[in-house]
């Protein structure tokens, strides 16, 4: 199995697939990514994204993509297939579940953010996306590639699920936030790793509220 780090070393540039039905947003995200030294492919829908990746059922398992995709950034609200549905399809595919997926949305709805993170999204960016957001995502990707963070992340996610299924003595597993102002439950292990970014992002969103 190819490790993300090896891919990065050989191609030296992250190849990002950006998915958004808005023409304006595709243009902006493309620029943000190019300025951050990425190769960019933009597509207008989840269906096109899957085709590009080669997940199109009609075309078989390997489509016409010449370059490996290192990161997918997708809008949430799109006609046809939403970003959430695209995320699920990617995370449930053995070939592509390793690719980090970032969701972008103009609406910071807590349940929406939760569902996306639960399904395996790396981050949830609130639109309009800024250069600082993109740079942070890039840094995460590079760090993950170098330190095999993917394996770490999977372990932590499983641990988090185990904590939830375990006896309810742990307070973190029993509290579900009912209002936007309460912090989300997270097991100590996830909080200690790359999830501080999630906490930061959630903190940011609370401030915006």
């Amino acid at each position: 199995m190819e490790v993300a780090g090896e891919v990065l070393a050989s191609e030296s540039q992250l190849h990002v697939l950006a998915v958004d039905d808005s023409h304006v947003d595709r243009k902006v995200i493309e620029k943000l990514l190019k300025i951050s030294s990425c190769k960019v492919t933009t597509v207008e829908s989840g269906a096109r994204a899957l085709q590009f990746l080669g997940l199109d059922e009609e075309k078989g398992s390997l489509g016409f993509n010449g370059l490996k995709v290192n990161l997918i950034m997708t809008d949430y609200s799109m006609p046809g297939m939403t970003g959430y549905e695209l995320l699920k399809k990617i995370k449930r595919s053995s070939a592509f579940r390793e690719i980090p997926v970032v969701i972008m949305s103009s609406e910071n709805i807590l349940t929406r953010i939760d569902s996306c993170l639960e399904e395996g999204a790396e981050e949830f960016l609130v639109k309009p996306v800024k250069l600082s957001d993109v740079k942070r995502v890039m840094n995460d990707c590079i760090m993950r590639g170098e330190t095999e963070g993917n394996n770490r992340r999977r372990v932590d996610k499983r641990k988090f699920e185990d904590d939830n299924h375990a006896s309810s003595s742990s307070s973190s597993s029993s509290s579900i936030p009912s209002s936007p102002s309460s912090p989300l439950p997270s097991s100590p292990s996830t909080a200690a790793t790359s999830s501080p970014l999630h906490s930061l992002k959630r903190a940011k969103l609370r401030d915006d509220n």
């Binding site: 039905d21 808005s22 023409h23 304006v24 947003d25 243009k27 902006v28 620029k31 943000l32 300025i35 609200s77 006609p79 103009s106 639109k127 309009p128 800024k130 250069l131």
Partner: protein, 154 residues
């Protein structure tokens, strides 16, 4: 008019657009993304915004003109317009869209018609302002000057 004067005029004009709320920080972000490799970036994005918006406003006009208004469809169009105006920093258009969406939720036909007028007004205003600003920029560049970067103190 010499270049220095034109540059000052541009800076004053651009600053007024921010002060009056036509544009917000996201527009500044776009300007900062422009560089020598892509000197027309802002013009291109703004043009896309104009094209998208005009289509959406037409779609909205038609959708609200139906005997049985499909508010879900109307809301979907407004959501798109809100998104693109937010992405380029057209703050007043975005805010008008936010108000519009709340009336869509209420399925209030009179209010939504008023909102459409409001959004159209804000759109044409910002379109006019942006075109003026971009024209000023073009004149400076044509005269051999460079576009001054706006620093916002607030």
């Amino acid at each position: 008019m010499e270049v220095g004067q034109m540059q000052r005029r541009l800076v004053d004009y651009t600053k007024s657009l921010f002060m009056e709320g036509f544009l917000d920080a996201q527009f500044l972000q776009l300007q900062q993304l422009q560089d020598e490799s892509n000197p027309d970036f802002v013009v291109e994005v703004v043009s896309l915004f104009f094209d998208d918006s005009e289509k959406l406003l037409n779609d909205l006009t038609m959708a609200l003109d139906q005997p049985n208004v499909d508010f879900k469809k109307v809301d979907a169009h407004v959501h798109q317009l809100k998104g693109s105006s937010s992405s380029i920093g057209a703050q007043r258009v975005k805010n008008a869209c936010i108000a519009f969406r709340s009336f869509c939720e209420e399925q209030n036909i009179d209010a939504t018609l008023r909102c459409l007028q409001q959004v159209k007004q804000e759109y044409y205003l910002v379109k006019n302002k942006l075109e003026t600003m971009l024209r000023l920029e073009q004149q400076i560049v044509a005269a051999g000057g460079s576009i001054p970067m706006i620093e916002l103190g607030f």
